[in-house]
Amino acid sequence: MSTISKAAPATAPHGGHVADENYLNCSRGFLSWILTLDHKRIGVMYTVSVMVSFLVGGIFALLVRTELLTPGPTITESAETYNHWFTLHGAIMVFLVIIPSIPAALGNFVLPIMLGAKDVAFPRLNLFSYYLWIAGAVLAVTSLLMGGFDTGWTFYTPYSTTTTAGGVIPVVVGVFILGFSSIFTGMNFLVTIHKLRPPGMTWFRMPLFLWALYATALMQVLATPVLAITLALLVVERTLNIGIFNPDMGGDPVLFQHFFWFYSHPAVYIMIVPAMGIISELIAVHSHRHIFGYKFIAFSSIAIAIFSFVVWGHHMFLSGQSGLMNVMFSFISFSVGIPSAVKIFNWLSTLYKGTISLNTPMLYALSFLFLFTIGGLTGMHLATLSTDVHLHDTYFVVAHFHYVMMGSALIAMIGGLHHWWPKITGRMYEEKLGMIACVLVFIGFNVTFFTQFMLGSQGMPRRYYDYAPEFQTYHIVSTIGSYIMAVGFFMTAGYLLHSLFHGRKAPANPWGGRSLEWQCASPPPIFNFDTTPAVGDCYDFSIVKWDPKEQGYYIDRSADPEIAKAEAERGHTHL
């Protein structure tokens, strides 16, 4: 009988199983990293880059919140400076942080190991994607040196084609290149999942994180080229004065919005669907309980990916597009709510009769459930046409998408980072500090953003430098919340970095996971597995056993007849 140990795994002595040679120490030097084809090292480089961007985007968020402490000037006299801040905050967080955070950073590390593969299907393309990301980020920095940009992250025309801010073209080209980074990663993952699954892993035996990454990759490949076209047209209009979007030259600004949201609405799901995948893993593993409704969760990811392409018009309810279109887009928009609700209730049912280990990754997963519920439910107010007319372009929308993009997507990313941290670094972080930081982030987040629902419904439009005095109380509360959140995140950075040097060595399987990444050493050896292992049901935790000597779990592979069967079949095919 497997048991939950009191000591699991927080206070175990040193001596967890660590392979002598792993992907971190197999070669040394700067070149061995920047020229690596190893998906794990590329994943780590992405993680570091994304976290640095998160710090920069977060600093701009704090500047914005601090400026809004008082009506009128607070820390800058200039509305233009404020406009640059919120634009940079949005653009960095969307294009450099959230979109690449889960697929490119965590996905790169975890996906091939979950498949029992040595690497992704195209390792060179993978490294190329990373350098495209770097190129995009460098162009964004170049844009700052050339005068920045104040267009909002949405680059709406004709403002973006007429503004005097000098950095619009470099940043637009940067986002164009980032798009290709995203497309290549998506293609790589699609092929990897199709071709490199191990024996025994049928489509419906895949861990749900892989289903989510698969749905995400589909959207990345199909939607991102439209963004590339749109941005290319924008650059053409700004540099060559060819009228496409600017009415003075015979163009149509609403056309830009159609193009932009045809990408950017699916992009919202490019951000949230992989987060949902992480949550499926965290809840199952840390409840030590078979995921409830596997097929419904898997199909709901695909359903969301498909619906995401036909709801872009709800960003344009007030743009002057026809009333009939508004009614149809409103109707279809509601359909996205249903697969989201299905997921929430399946995760809740997974908790039922589970054996719940309340640790840092699980706390993040539970935070996600609460925050995503609020984020999803407030989507109802915005999909409903008559209430949207009042709420559109107000702080209500700001609050809604922060609940979904930050409270859900980023919280899941941070939760996933904690979940796979022992695997990535081979070290355990301080569990108590992790839980305190998570609670701080959770409280800070709600204080910051729940107030913004009332701000918006009371009628405060978004992107305002100055506001009416009656809104100040809400703004003060919101700003205090953002400081609490900042403390939580800096604390997280502190104990995670500390663990790299002083953390206890991690066992191969600290949480009791069943999927393949928990069956190789922490950190994994350079080629992950000597031979491709066979798999059974990756949510059947009955063969996961506690090993007091290792202070970790192990998987009793001989106890699973399905693994034996799969291995026997492999014998027949002489692999």
């Binding site: 048991t3 007429t162 609403v254 008559s386 009042h390 009628g459």
Partner: protein, 371 residues
């Protein structure tokens, strides 16, 4: 049966009571004051969605907390292998119930939107032009204003245009909003039965909701709702106000009134703004101090103003700057000023020029200094 019989009567009473309200619905926790004929329905939809969503949030949160508390692993606990992993009935339940509820939400939104979208036939039309960064409201008799004045008790339609970038016309108390799109015409309508008179504190608010740059948060204006007779008086007076100002008072009375439109970008005391300050302007255009100031095309004031040059007189240059502001740009300012052709006429331009000539008689805010 008694109960059932009384329901229609109760409904009838409620329906009769509705139009008898004499004050707008007060601000609540969520929604601000509601003062239009559609605000009641929209607030009802909002409340309904809030209650349903509130119920589900509580349901999810309670289940979450109960499960975590009840099934939390204690030291030495065996891993429970119980509990179903699939249940078609439950899956269908939580697919179908949210599906039905969202269709109910859709229906409320659809009906409310039809009311918002379909203006009655007998609307009073006001032309609205949004620009960086202000509004121009033009009434059928030619009167213009910066704040919106509307008659009470009858449907009013705003015909929305923008002459530079996107803006969005938002009146929270009326629950209406629509983008103002350059090159297109959009419109919204409302009917407000609660007159505010000319009282600034009672007036409703009008804001720009689509990001439009530096002055985006300074496009807030008032909405004054006047009973029909007062409105008729106001609109006639407003159309003729400039003509009624005596010539001798043109600079001192009409000047500051018109300057209010300019104050967004042009200071009177030399403060750096979005456009050049008016301080010393008259000297500059008149060949005095600063008249060698450059334009973006490299010329200076002396090159274009004077007998036989592009502008015979400084007055002609200033008039043209009001009507064709992009023609000569004072360095280092950008081409951001909208044209005021059709909004400021010859007499208006004379008033502004008169004010520029006698700037020492005004304070930094444009108020005449009492003698």
């Amino acid at each position: 049966m008694m109960m059932l019989d009384t329901i229609p009567t109760m409904l009838a009473t409620l329906a009769a009571a509705a139009p008898a309200e004499s004050t707008p619905s007060p601000a609540g926790f969520w929604m601000p004051v509601g003062a239009s004929t559609v605000s009641g329905d929209i607030d009802f939809a909002m409340d309904f969605i809030n209650w349903v969503c509130g119920f589900f949030l509580v349901l999810v949160t309670v289940l979450l907390v109960v499960f975590v508390v009840k099934y939390r692993a204690k030291p030495g606990d065996a891993i429970r292998m119980g509990g179903p992993v699939h249940h078609m009935g439950l899956e269908l339940t939580w697919t179908i119930i949210p599906g039905i509820l969202s269709m109910v939400f859709f229906w409320f939104g659809f009906k409310g939107y039809l009311d918002l979208q379909t203006a009655p036939k007998n609307t009073f039309d006001i032309n609205v032009t949004a620009f960086k960064w202000g509004w121009n409201f033009k009434y059928p008799n030619g009167a213009q204003s910066e704040d919106l004045y509307a008659p009470a008790g009858r449907p009013v339609r705003l015909i929305l245009r923008a002459n530079d970038v996107l803006h969005s016309c938002f009146i929270p108390e009326f629950r209406v909003k629509k983008d103002c799109v350059p090159g297109r015409t959009t419109n919204i309508w409302f009917q407000c039965d609660f007159p505010t008179g000319l009282d600034v504190d009672a007036a409703y608010g009008l804001h720009c909701a689509e990001y439009c740059g530096t002055g985006h948060s300074n496009m807030n204006r008032k909405v004054y709702v006047l009973v029909q007779e007062d409105f008729d008086d106001w609109v006639v007076k407003q159309a003729n106000w400039l003509d009624e100002v005596p010539d001798s008072e043109l600079a001192s009375i009409a000047g500051p009134k018109l300057y209010a439109r300019c104050a967004q970008c042009h200071s009177l005391d030399g403060t750096q703004g979005i456009g050049p300050s008016w301080k010393g302007l008259w000297d500059r255009v008149n060949g005095g101090a600063g008249s060698d100031g450059k334009f973006t095309d490299g010329k200076n004031y002396k090159d274009i103003i004077g007998v036989g040059k592009e502008y015979e007189t400084p007055e002609a240059y200033i008039e043209d700057s009001i009507w064709n502001p992009g023609k000569h740009l004072v360095a280092p300012f950008g081409n951001v000023m909208p044209t005021f052709k059709g909004q400021v006429n010859q007499r208006g331009a004379e008033a502004i020029i008169g004010m520029m000539k006698t700037l020492d008689q005004f304070d930094a805010k444009g108020k005449p200094i009492a003698k």
